[in-house]
């Protein structure tokens, strides 16, 4: 788990406000989601290569972090290949599954769209430090501090819970009940974990309150979260990706609006 490890990626990426990264991936997703064609996704992917190079993850980090995206994109492409709306020549037929000209095109578009949305999102998000993200959400997006900081602090407890879970498992083996009834044991263990996590959460809340959290007075921020020139550039590039993808697809006649 890299949640509290030093942030990965190039120095310039880490200077960008997490909120900007959120905006960029939202804008790209929206544009790519609007159409079912392969052209818009390809254009977006091509322009996203700049982003991916700029983030500068090591090959290992890149493979590890994006592997779920590749797997999901290819699996959904495969499903569409077999079951997508058939048209044109039929190449293969087995029960309801058939591979046709139409399903091949749709499958390619699906894979590309999955990658075009998933890759920039993952690559940008692994460079986000949770604390900076919370600062951005509270100071730039003006979300309530109580909510954002509470979530951030609670998030940290997840790691303690992982260790608790292992301990609960060992304890069940020691108590002689680990041989049978896996499902029931899981439910019981989950309940025990819930009790433990509520206790922890209550203590954490008391500790935070004792430090003046949730008080009435105005709050200051030790770490300023600002939008700088670099953020404007990154967001502008995100908009450019989205706009180019749509424009090229429309002009080349491949645009196929999901609603249509």
């Amino acid at each position: 788990m890299t949640l509290f490890a030093p942030p990965v990626g190039s120095r310039s990426v880490n200077k960008i406000n997490p909120v900007s990264k959120l905006i960029v991936s939202a804008v790209i997703s929206l544009a790519v989601l609007l159409s079912l064609d392969w052209v818009s996704a390809t254009v977006a992917l091509a322009l996203e290569c700049v982003l991916i190079v700029w983030v500068r993850l090591s090959p290992r980090q890149l493979v590890l972090s994006t592997s779920p995206v590749w797997i999901a994109a290819i699996l959904s492409g495969f499903t569409i290949l077999l079951y997508g709306r058939p048209s044109g020549q039929v190449y293969f037929h087995f029960f309801v599954a058939q591979v046709t000209d139409g399903s091949i095109e749709l499958a390619i578009a699906t894979v590309l769209r999955g990658l075009a949305i998933g890759l920039p999102a993952v690559v940008l998000f692994v460079t986000i430090d949770p604390t900076d993200f919370a600062d951005g959400l509270a100071q730039v997006m003006k979300l309530p501090a109580r909510f954002v900081l509470g979530a951030l602090a609670g998030f940290r407890l997840v790691f303690l819970l992982l260790e608790d879970w292992r301990s609960l498992e060992r304890a069940r083996r020691a108590r002689g009940v680990a041989d049978t009834g896996r499902l029931r044991r899981f439910a019981g263990q989950a309940l025990a974990l819930l009790v433990i996590s509520i206790r922890r959460g209550t203590k954490l809340a008391t500790a935070m309150e004792a430090r003046g959290f949730g008080g009435k007075g105005p709050r200051t921020w030790a770490r300023p979260s600002r939008m700088r020139i670099g953020d404007a550039v990154v967001i502008a590039y995100g908009v450019l990706i989205a706009a180019s993808a749509v424009t090229v697809a429309v002009l080349s006649g491949h645009w196929s609006f999901i609603g249509g």
Binding site: D129, E163, S167, G176, I196, K203, L204, A207, A210, P218
Partner: protein
């Protein structure tokens, strides 16, 4: 930190004050009259359930409103209501893990200042000063998850200090720490109090640690307010025996080492051959461990946090796979292969019993009776046999009156006794204990030691991972000392 910027120490005044948690019949505190002058240093003692923590939370203004309970009388901090005085009072709690709010050391110290609306430049000045004052000279972006228990408590203390409080409240700040951690925190508190002159109220069972730092001892009694109040030596002299009986660790009053009648001919029941232990299979914590566990003898596994004491104990107990070598339980196997990790869960029951550091982790049932019956039921004993064993073990560990209670609602000492009882009811010849005395009051401690001594005399073998020196002195026949695998790497308190 300059003394100029330190705020004036504040007073505490409770008049006829009481508090009842919502849904409870009895009052946690009632009819309390107590005045603490600015700059006084008070050690607050009392049996568990006498309302010490409740009082601290009330002074800190975090007890909650009408939804959380009902109050009587009044309590004032520097002449104001505690809620109005928030930020003037700093509170340090027992559990190191539940006080870290943020991922980086500097940010965590800054958190309280931010909430009080301190200007940014001033915040970072205070952060640096406070970290220095508690002796935590680490980079501001150092990850809080990499701190030891003692370091986490000092971090929380720095966070309290940065708020420039007039009152510092400590609620068992060292109960969860190893001996080094206890000293670290105590020394840091001493420096901070000397620096700020703030009023100090400490709740702790271990009197020896704090006695020289305080100038007044107050003893609370459940439902009766203040029972004793005055200069430390006098109060301890007059109330020492009663305090010790209620679980307070009064110096010089711990009963001497238990009397043991060792077995004439102990026999080896388990040994390890060049054992290598690991929490996660890829990282070997310690290697080349050769131990011999004998019936009727207690083996203490000692060493600093992070050395792998618990890991070794759990590996011997057949609960964690080993990384290298072998665990050979030839004296316990009785027809099975001789490696405990290969036994079935139910086969462990009659061979090795494990008592976990946190008793709550091993509770499975809704009542104490059902909890005690879990093991015997797995063994398919007849119902009358089950009842017989359960009643016997319960009376031996003084939990017979709690049979219908939910295990999670018991006190700390009762939970510990129940966790030991659940293991004994299936009569395993080897008992593995992971930090059995962790956070226990002196009464539970004495009972536990006496009881384990009895078991040893009856021929059981005991392996205990512990950093409790007194426990080792009182009970251990042999000691296996582990050293930290890499001293340069600070580690969190092991689970």
């Amino acid at each position: 930190m300059s003394n100029k910027s330190a705020p004036a120490a504040a007073s505490i005044d409770a008049r006829g004050w009481g508090w009842r948690h919502v849904g409870r019949l009895s009052w946690a505190v009632s009819e309390l009259d107590l005045s603490v002058n600015p700059g006084e240093r008070v050690l607050l003692l009392g049996a568990s359930g006498s309302g010490k923590s409740t009082l601290l939370q009330a002074v800190a203004g975090v007890l909650g409103g009408d939804d959380d309970g009902e109050s009587r009388g009044q309590i004032l901090v520097a002449g104001q209501s505690p809620e109005a005085a928030r930020g003037r009072v700093g509170l340090l709690l027992q559990d190191p893990d539940c006080q870290v709010t943020l991922a980086r050391v500097g940010d965590d110290v800054a958190f309280g200042c931010e909430n009080l609306g301190v200007p940014r430049d001033e915040i970072w000045r205070r952060v640096t000063d406070s970290l220095h004052a508690v002796g935590l000279d680490l980079p501001l972006d150092y990850p809080t998850s990499a701190l030891s228990g003692g370091q986490k408590q000092r971090l929380a203390l720095a966070g309290v200090l940065a708020m420039r409080p007039g009152i510092i409240l400590l609620d068992e700040p060292t109960a969860n720490l190893d001996p080094d951690g206890v000293l670290e925190v105590r020394d840091a508190v001493e420096r901070v109090v000397a620096l700020t002159g703030a009023t100090l109220v400490v709740v702790e069972h271990r009197v020896a640690v704090w006695k020289n730092l305080v100038d007044r001892v107050v003893v609370l009694e459940a439902g009766a307010g203040v029972r004793a109040d005055g200069e430390p030596d006098t109060v301890l002299k007059q109330n020492g025996a009663a305090l010790a009986a209620s679980g307070v660790w009064v110096p010089g009053l711990l009963s001497a080492r238990s009397t043991r009648a060792p077995l004439a001919s102990p026999r080896s029941i388990l040994h390890t051959e060049d054992l290598g232990i690991a929490r996660v299979s890829s990282t070997v914590l310690q290697a080349g461990i050769n131990l011999d566990v004998q019936s009727g003898r207690a083996l203490a596994v000692c060493g600093p946090n992070g050395a792998g004491k618990s890991t070794l104990a759990l590996t011997i107990a057949g609960l964690l796979p080993h990384a290298q070598g072998r665990v050979v339980a030839d004296g316990l196997a009785a027809g099975l292969v001789d490696e405990p990790i290969k036994w079935k869960s139910r086969e462990l029951l009659t061979r090795i019993g494990t008592v976990f550091q946190d008793p709550e982790h091993q509770f499975l049932a809704g009542t104490v009776r059902a909890e005690l019956s879990v093991g015997p039921k797995v063994l398919r004993l007849a119902q009358n046999e089950i009842d017989e064993r359960v009643d016997e073990v319960a009376s031996r560990l003084r939990i017979s009156h709690l049979m219908a209670a939910n295990p999670f609602t018991l006190s700390g000492g009762e939970k510990r006794r129940l966790s030991v009882a659940t293991v004994l009811v299936t009569r395993p010849p080897l008992l593995v204990l992971d930090e059995p005395t962790f956070g226990q009051d002196s009464r539970t401690w004495e009972e536990l030691v006496a009881f384990l001594a009895e078991l040893l005399d009856e021929g059981s073998a005991v392996v205990a991972a512990t950093h409790d020196r007194e426990f080792v002195d009182a009970l251990a026949d042999e000691e296996y000392v582990m050293t930290a695998p890499r001293a340069s790497e600070p580690r969190a308190v092991e689970a």
